[in-house]
């Protein structure tokens, strides 16, 4: 692809990340204006999930391979952040098995988050070199096995991870703006990857495996690149999550979160970045509304509330119903684009772009 082609692709598709980022900023501003504690926490959690799901999208959306393993990278990132930032005096008591350089360390938050992402990325590179040869359901199972291995190791390596108990003492840092920054960062990374040569090649391979292979695309290599980048973003998300909760424990990073993030991606539409972000926003909003209903809303003196537990049942049913009517997700795998005025983009899916560019 030539430079002109690339820049024209950039111009045609740039409205998507801009719109998504504007939506995220608007949500942050609203949360600040409302100012309620619980609501802010919900919004922070939502931003972190945007990081997770958009990060997951980098691999799953572009390659078409469902991964059950990415929450393992979050686990790695969160624990790394704990190792880097908990005051040494506390670590000496709770995590006696840490090597000296970690036991003594107390890094600045952002450096720690970057290193946490890097650690996850390096891990992904090592295991990915073996696993990315697999495709389809075998690859999905392998990623699940990877998650299980990470979970078992972090649950039992007591001297370094504190075992199944929680590690406390991670500095609280993540608020709305930090989380927003993280979400924007991941959206930008995901967008840049999507229009990169590797991203286009991977999408071409997803849609037309034989044709892509025939035109010399090394699917395994491109998959590995996507795997490593998405591991980095999710590792960083894990670090921010640690600084949000102040505690980490291995079971927070297991099947529950894996399925919630995957569901958000599929409900939103797993073939587009917009789908990833919209999926998080829609599901999070529904969850929040149901939580309010569960607590009870005041209707002119009478309190209307739904029984406990109905929230989860409802969210499950809503997901099933959305998928029934939109099997390809809310966005149907298309990107949100600006269609008005001089900057109007042609509506098209990134997949189509990838295929036509590849053929050109």
């Amino acid at each position: 692809m030539t430079v002109t082609q690339r820049s024209s692709l950039l111009v045609r598709t740039i409205s998507t990340p801009i719109i998504l980022i504007v939506i995220l900023i608007l949500i942050a501003v609203i949360a600040k204006l409302v100012g309620s504690g619980p609501f802010s926490r919900t919004v922070v959690e939502m931003f972190i999930r945007v990081m997770l799901v958009a990060g997951l999208y980098i691999f799953v959306g572009n390659s078409g391979v469902i991964s059950f393993g990415h929450i393992g990278f979050m686990c790695i990132g969160a624990y790394a952040a704990a190792w880097f930032t908990i005051p040494p005096a506390m670590k000496a008591v709770t995590l006696q098995g840490l090597p000296d350089f970690l036991a003594q360390a107390q890094l600045p938050i952002f450096l720690s988050a970057a290193l946490a992402g890097l650690l996850a990325a390096i891990f992904a590179l090592v295991v990915g070199r073996i696993m990315m040869r697999l495709a389809g359901i075998a690859a999905s199972i392998a990623t699940f096995a990877m998650l299980a291995v990470i979970n078992v190791v972090y649950s039992n390596w007591d001297s370094v991870t504190g075992g199944t108990g929680s590690i406390v003492g991670i500095p609280f840092y993540t608020g709305i703006w930090t989380a927003l920054g993280g979400a924007i960062l991941v959206v930008i990374i995901a967008y840049l990857y999507q229009i990169s040569r590797s991203g286009l090649a991977l999408r071409a391979g997803r849609d037309e495996a034989t044709a892509a292979a025939a035109s010399g695309i090394d699917i395994v290599r491109e998959r590995l690149i996507a795997f490593v980048i998405s591991a980095f973003t999710i590792g960083v998300a894990g670090a921010l999550y640690g600084h949000f909760l102040g505690v980490v424990n291995p079971d927070a990073f297991y099947l529950g979160l894996t399925f919630i993030t995957l569901s958000m991606l599929v409900v939103g539409g797993m073939n587009s970045l917009s789908g990833a972000v919209i999926g998080v926003i829609v599901i999070s909003t529904i969850i929040q509304i149901l939580r309010w209903l569960e607590k009870g809303i005041d209707l002119g003196g009478a309190t209307l509330s739904i029984p406990n537990g109905l929230q989860e049942i409802t969210i499950g049913l809503v997901m099933i119903i959305i998928l029934m009517f939109r099997p390809a997700g809310l966005t149907r795998g298309r990107e949100i684009v600006w269609r008005f005025g001089p900057w109007a983009s042609k509506p098209s899916t990134a997949g189509e772009v990838a295929v036509s560019k590849n053929g050109a």
């Binding site: 697999l134 199972i141 039992n156 049942i313 499950g316 997901m319 998928l323 099997p327």
Partner: protein, 304 residues
């Protein structure tokens, strides 16, 4: 010698659960390419069905107090009914959807079932008294083996024999095998899609119920989580066995059970807590070695 016998029985009885679970998942996958994540929740549902309507912590078993010859068919029927109902209400509408969408839909259904049980019974595990005299040991060639282990293995063998006979000797079985291999072609020969799929769901649900009965008897408790862990291993077994291959799923189920028990014995003491990490590591190695599964049917190569 007796120690080895004990290990063999441990491996076989654990493998039995995984094998029956894998069979239940593989049956559905065969006919509609659905990885049914709700399967584990069918198992839990069947266990809790024995408690209903009692929700006390020390469960006054209602259905569980029924005589055995009524209880077992009843629970099997509940499993089959739940499974068939989920096909009619949910999965039927996803026949043409892509596998990821179906998978997430099945997960969402499992989520609904699980929280339905939580709402009724709360998350605290409940004790359940079901054939407790079965945990008494019996003497087998000098080793003391819990009677329940022997029964579990015998029941599994009976299930496998029964299912094989059904698949090989009956018209329904013929249609199911054909549908699992090439569904569209089978339909073009007049095989009724809905009937075959509903039958597969019914059998799969009964297998889930069988696991529920065995698990409840073994552990003496009813726990919301109990089905999921079996389901995950069973799911892995279906893939390792070669998706679409029923014998493969069964063998892989026993294989994973065997490897788990063996690791527990041969790993050094320090490494034992990490046993499952070794088992899952072996799973990855196995997939790299044979991505199509150990016993993939010839037709699987083009399809998966």
């Amino acid at each position: 010698m007796t120690a080895i016998l004990q290990i063999i029985f441990d491996a076989l009885s654990l493998g039995s659960l995984y094998a029956i679970g894998a069979l239940g998942i593989a049956l559905i996958f065969g006919v509609m390419r659905l990885v049914n994540f709700a399967h584990g929740d069918y198992i839990s549902f069947c266990v809790f069905a024995m408690l209903w309507p009692s929700i006390d912590a020390a469960a006054v078993v209602f259905a569980g107090n029924l005589p055995t010859f009524i209880l077992i068919p009843l629970i099997l029927a509940i499993g089959a009914g739940l499974s068939v109902l989920s096909e009619i209400l949910v999965f039927r509408r996803f026949r043409n959807a892509n596998p990821a969408t179906m998978m997430i839909a099945s997960f969402a259904l499992g989520f609904v079932l699980k929280h339905f049980l939580l709402m009724l019974f709360s998350s605290r595990p409940k004790s359940i008294d079901l054939w407790s005299n079965l945990s008494l040991p019996v003497e087998v060639a000098g080793a003391r083996i819990p009677l329940l282990q022997v029964i579990t293995i015998v029941i599994t063998i009976l299930i496998l024999l029964g299912l094989t006979a059904f698949l090989k000797r009956t018209r329904f079985g013929l249609e199911m095998r054909a549908a699992a291999e090439n569904f569209t072609m089978a339909r073009m020969l007049g095989v009724k899609a809905n009937r075959v799929i509903m039958l597969a769901f019914a059998i799969s649900g009964m297998l889930a119920a069988a696991i529920g009965l065995i698990l409840a008897t073994q552990s003496g408790t009813a726990d919301i989580q109990m089905g999921v862990s079996v389901m995950l291993v069973a799911f892995i077994a279906t893939v390792i066995g070669g998706l679409g291959s029923l014998p493969g799923a069964v063998i892989a189920g026993f294989l994973i059970g065997g490897v788990s028990v063996l690791m527990q014995v041969i790993l050094p003491l320090d490494a034992r807590p990490f046993r499952d990490a070794f088992v899952y590591g072996a799973v990855i190695a196995c997939l790299i070695w044979r991505p199509q599964g150990l016993f993939a049917p010839k037709s699987a190569k083009q399809r998966v």
